[in-house]
């Protein structure tokens, strides 16, 4: 066991896979010598060589498009896109090719590849550096979308993502990249994609979140506890495929659901969860499902960002309103 941050845990997962599988290749903007702007790949080029861990020219469509070619011809590329908002130049390759190659070729060519990028706000960054595009990618048939919230999960999910036969969008919560430290096993382990985790059991209301919002929810849970509210907190861990069973079982128990996420509210993962609550647990609902999510606006720059970001007290406020409905 070692104490690791999310950055260190992902680095450790990549290191393990590079070590045991020569088909794993890592590249992205600044991913080689520097180890990425957040240092997630730090030291990997030195250890595994420039042929396997390297800097890519700046062109996201090319990073993803070439990775697909590699995946179709026997490699397992793990590519880094520098920021959430810089994944869009690669959108066409992701949607029109990566997600479809298996289907298009009737299984002859598969796309075992991982597209990593840091996502989310709260770091006082420039435009395009604070976005949560999980709904965009989860809407695309053929992709899997993973978002860890702890160092342990980040390591186990990254190993599962690299070993997946399907392409995986791996969104890393940059706001808590180094904010959480946790004992993580040094050995290889994986966490199955598509399984949520009940972090706290409770009886009054179900709160569903993922990524960096988990920590904010945990702060809200302290306030809820003081107010005598028993909250069941679920960490989705995978956005697609969604672990409906865990969510529905929890709603059946509590009768109420509050969804917390940073992305704009409309047409979001929150909307999907509300649909599931209605489709699968309609008769158990005792209050309208509630989304505590971003405005349908651009994430403001640093001065305005606190107004946009979901704070623990706002989460508590909505939890209390839902419970008292």
């Amino acid at each position: 066991m070692s104490v690791m941050t999310i950055v260190q845990a992902i680095n450790n997962a990549l290191d393990i896979k590079l070590e045991e599988d020569k088909t794993v290749i890592i590249y992205g903007e600044d991913a080689g010598v520097e180890g990425g702007v957040f240092r997630v790949t730090e030291g990997l080029q030195k250890k595994h060589g420039e042929e396997r861990v390297f800097d890519a020219p700046i062109a996201e469509s090319a990073i993803v498009g070439t990775a697909l070619g590699m995946a179709m011809s026997g490699l397992r590329p793990v590519v880094e896109l520098q920021f959430d908002g810089f994944s869009y130049p690669a959108f066409n390759q992701i949607i029109s090719n990566v997600s479809r190659m298996n289907n298009r070729s009737r299984g002859m060519y598969k796309a075992p590849m991982v597209i990593r990028f840091p996502y989310g706000g709260g770091i006082n960054a420039l435009e395009h550096h604070s976005e949560s595009p999980e709904a965009l990618y989860s809407h695309i048939p053929g992709l899997k979308v993973v978002v860890p919230s702890t160092p342990h999960d980040a390591k186990g999910l990254m190993i599962a993502a690299i070993e997946s036969g399907d392409p995986v969008i791996f969104m890393e919560p940059k706001r808590i990249y180094r904010a959480i430290k946790q004992e993580v096993s040094d050995d290889k382990f994986s966490i199955p994609i598509g399984k949520a985790k009940v972090l706290t059991e409770g009886t009054d209301v179900t709160v569903v979140a993922f990524g960096a919002m988990i920590r904010e929810c945990q702060k809200a849970l302290v306030m809820a506890k003081e107010a005598g509210i028993s909250v069941e907190l679920i960490d989705l861990r995978t956005i697609y495929p969604l672990d409906k069973e865990t969510i529905v079982n929890s709603i059946k128990k509590t009768g109420k659901i509050v969804i917390v996420a940073e992305a704009p509210t409309s047409f979001s993962v929150g909307g999907e969860l509300m649909a599931i609550a209605n489709e699968e647990a309609f008769l158990y609902l005792e209050a309208p499902p509630k989304r505590v999510m971003g405005f349908d606006t651009i994430v403001p720059l640093a001065k305005g960002e606190p107004l946009y970001m979901i704070s623990p007290d706002r989460i508590f406020y909505e939890i209390e309103r839902t419970v008292k409905f």
């Binding site: 290749i25 042929e51 890519a56 020219p57 062109a59 469509s61 090319a62 993803v64 498009g65 070439t66 990775a67 697909l68 070619g69 590699m70 995946a71 179709m72 011809s73 026997g74 490699l75 590329p77 130049p89 066409n92 390759q93 029109s96 090719n97 190659m101 298996n102 289907n103 298009r104 070729s105 009737r106 299984g107 002859m108 060519y109 598969k110 075992p112 048939p141 053929g142 899997k144 997946s164 036969g165 399907d166 598509g194 697609y240 495929p241 969604l242 409906k244």
Partner: protein, 362 residues
Amino acid sequence: MIFNDYNPLEDKIFRVIDNDGKVINKEYMPNLDDETIIQAYKHMLFFRTADEMAVSFQRQGRMYTYPPCVGHEAIHAAAGMNMREQDWLVPAFREVGIMLLKGVTMKEIFLYYMGNEEGSNFKKANHVTPISISIGSQYLHATGIGYSVKYQKKDEIVFTSIGDGGTSEGDFSEALNFGGNWKVPVIYTIQNNQYAISVPVKNQTNAINLAVKSVGFGIPGVKVDGNDFFAMYAIYKEAVEYAKAGKGAVLIEALTYRKGAHTTSDDPTKYRTKEEELEWSKTDPMLRLKKYMDHKGIWKENEEELIEKYKLEVDKQFVEAENMPPYKLDDVFQHMYVDMPDDLRKQKADYEQFLTWKESKR
């Protein structure tokens, strides 16, 4: 080296025979025996026969669409004849001839244009990727495959192709930039057939030609007469040697003319003149190769009989494609994921339930 002698910055064009089939460039005339030349012509004849039949099947309402390749035969034959079994073909969609020489069948091509993904599952062809409709995106896949074969130290060369319109896409430039930087064994071809649907190449770029785009990416580039089989053969041979020597990627602009429509849904009379078509018809790749063979007196086959034989073969494959078993619900779902999510299983099961209900009402 052809790449050195025909500098695209000077807008030179590499050509070996003229429109009358006379050798005008002895230095670079490829050393091919008569049998190989005859075989090349037969390939081209088969491509054109199959192509014309495909258009006619579409006109009969037996196939949804088809992008005719007529006029591109020299490029296709020369590329295919320079490819080995282990080499990769990463096509767009107007590469049917090359695909056939790589082992793809007309049955598969027909299946695809009848609207069946099974037509992209090339069962007998090694290392041919599916037809790519998203313009330009295949250039990047070829580049990645190039990295892959280089990294795995495999003796494989990657051939990819794009149209003149595709060179305006970002993926074209990004691919050449990455491919040049990575020194991948990729032969990038531009089939410049003068039109992207209705838009003439002069409306795509202010560059003096398309081969010149190689200069900015630090790779050799050359403009070739794509209707000259010998020129195309010679350039591919040189490109293959260049790649085998580990020198990296090259860009070949093959100048040709799309004699047919963009697809069967297109009407070229709206945007080009009969005079222009007539002018280009003098450069027809089959006509020129035939004239060359006639000068040499090596063509002794009965062309009409050959065409009849090819027609029977193509017809047989078309009927096989038409008689494919009906598309099943399974076919919609089964290749979306290696590891199918429960949601998809449930969506399929729900639909099966509906089908059972529908059946019970009959």
